[in-house]
Symmetry: C2
Subunit: 332 residues, 2 copies
DNA sequence: GGGCGTTTTGCAACGCGTTGCAAATTTTAT
DNA sequence: ATAAAATTTGCAACGCGTTGCAAAACGCCC
């Protein structure tokens, strides 16, 4: 069927090894055989079979890319950057959709069946044990958007969620909001928990601040809307939402109730996805440096591949406020 | 390193073939050897190596999924549904990002190196020759969101773009708009061309209608905004935009200029992505049945895999208007 | 031209499973 | 119990490349 090594070898009048070596970086072939082989390969349209070669080399250049939030606009950028970044380094992303399930058994099986070189868990909602299960199967893994740790047992790169929580509360305080609230994403997510922790701590440290908290059960417009509707009977002055889309849903509920943002209720999002800056949305939000998170994640993967015994590291990037129109201006 | 067939065979005290057959659908193994083998496999944690087996079976269950519009929110649904649909059928998507390039040589090489069983070109902007190049490499392919044809040389599933163009013009006419316009997506895309064709035809057939046309150079908010800004010196009464995000960008430009939608200018989108229905956007748009397009695409792929000589088919789904708030109500 | 050190080359085995075939075993029929 | 049919099993070759090793070819020096 397809053209193989052997075909090229015969046509070029050399051994199969010679052909193999011409296609192997840094192998020993004389200029003249290389020439012959390349000519033959060219004329036959030969493409080395990456999977066959992986059998002996043990490298497939396949990277499992596991994600959960397929419907969240943030992931447009995430997929775009991961695929491009991996492609640039000669790796191929094998995409695994875990939005329906959180049990690691199946995906781990799959990663092994396809002998991926490594896996990236790109999710802020999968529990830490998910990535751990992959590591336990001896597959190098980094958990992007995961929970930072001082003593990580798996590589993690993400943001400083606690810091974001603090920043949110401080931002509210600086703008004169006193009765503030945390409207997180799914409660079980570590990112939500950590942000709440930071938020709560900052409130405790700042005189005059009081808080309540609640959660949206999904990173969606309708979940945000639902959650805010439930709060409107006795609303806080400002809400720190777990995500931009949740914020937008919340805003919709607020406006439907005849209230205004930011006059009646302030809203602070998180992520800074592209649409947050669109002027009919114009959401004040905490920017997450996705580009850096992803390029660092890929760097870690490549690093671990070169040094399989590298100790796991945890890296969290700081975030910053993007001032737009859903929060009162700074009070002076 | 990893557990192999041989290990299991030794532990179970049977031949390698026996083990292989236990894991092969419909192979002949007695109940008692199967039991022994399964016990051994279980205790060793054996996972058959899909890539090694692909060598002899010729099937990898890998499907190349090629996309271009990684930043368009429509693709959230596209990726979600494709990955889930393929997973359900035991296939694995190998994701290829072609947003930076349109030359098929590299991706075709890649598809061959990884011996994908088939490829899906999920793009309305890649030219038809792209999918054709894959077919020429003897890789089964379907072009989702591609250009329909009476005599397709590649499987295509998409929407009736010409019909959408007509529908847009007729919708405008029915609402009393006379001076209407087409604000397409990228001009080179066949989808844009076909819609323009249908739009133009319907204008010609309908007395009292006049039209102009122009293009946004990308499926983005800023491209839509830019394009509309250029038109505002002498605007039409209503615009049929090539995409919802373009519409949203256009709306932003209109409102910035102090005009109102739909009072001053009507806007009709296309795609009906989730955010179009959010009430702070509330875009009247033409709904594209993505779910059906994708499930039909996957069905075609599976069909071609079962019958490699299946003649290419072209299937286009009808679209329908989703009435919201960017167009005047029906005049009676 | 002979001797010595390098490079290049091919052989053959290997990686992990699959499969045609013939031998061995089990089942069924008599 | 025996013969015939049906099933199950193992052997060995194969799929496509890679790689350690020894042999061959090359280059260099005297």
């Amino acid at each position: 069927m397809a053209i193989t090594l052997k075909d090229v070898a015969e046509m070029a009048g050399v051994s199969r090894s010679a052909v193999s070596r011409t296609f192997t970086e840094g192998a020993s072939v004389s200029a003249k055989t290389r020439k012959k082989v390349e000519a033959a390969a060219q004329s036959l349209g030969y493409q080395p079979n990456a999977l066959a070669s992986s059998l002996t080399t043990g490298r497939t250049k396949l990277i499992g890319l596991i994600a959960t939030n397929f419907r969240n606009p943030l992931f447009l950028e995430v997929f775009d950057r991961f695929t491009l970044g991996l492609q640039d380094r000669g790796m191929r992303p094998l995409l695994i959709n875990m939005s329906k399930e959180t049990d690691p058994t199946e995906p781990v099986k799959l990663l092994r069946q396809y002998s991926v070189d490594a896996a990236i868990v790109a999710s802020s909602t999968l529990p830490p044990q998910f990535a751990r299960a992959i590591r336990d199967a001896k597959i190098p893994v980094v958990n992007s958007f995961g929970r930072a740790s001082d003593a990580p047992d798996v590589d993690v790169v993400g943001i400083d969620n606690e810091g974001c929580g603090r920043m949110a509360a401080q931002t509210f305080a600086a703008r004169g909001y006193a009765k503030i609230a945390f409207l997180g994403g799914p409660e079980f997510a570590t990112s939500t928990q950590d942000r709440l922790k930071g938020f709560t701590a900052a409130v405790a440290e700042t005189p005059g601040l009081s808080m309540t908290h609640s959660f949206a059960d999904d990173y969606t417009f309708s979940a945000g809307r639902r959650a805010m509707n439930a709060l409107l009977s006795n609303p806080a002055e400002a809400y720190f939402c777990g995500d931009d889309v949740i914020s937008i849903g919340a805003k919709s509920a607020i406006e439907d109730a005849g209230l205004e943002v930011p006059e009646d209720i302030g809203l602070l999002g998180l992520n800074d996805m592209e649409m947050a800056s669109w002027d009919n949305i114009s959401l004040t939000t905490i920017h997450q440096p996705i580009e850096r998170i992803i390029s660092h994640s890929i760097d870690r993967i490549m690093h671990i591949l070169n040094d399989p015994n590298a100790a796991p590291e945890s890296h969290s990037f700081a975030c910053e406020i993007r001032e737009r129109k859903t929060l009162r201006p700074l009070s002076d």
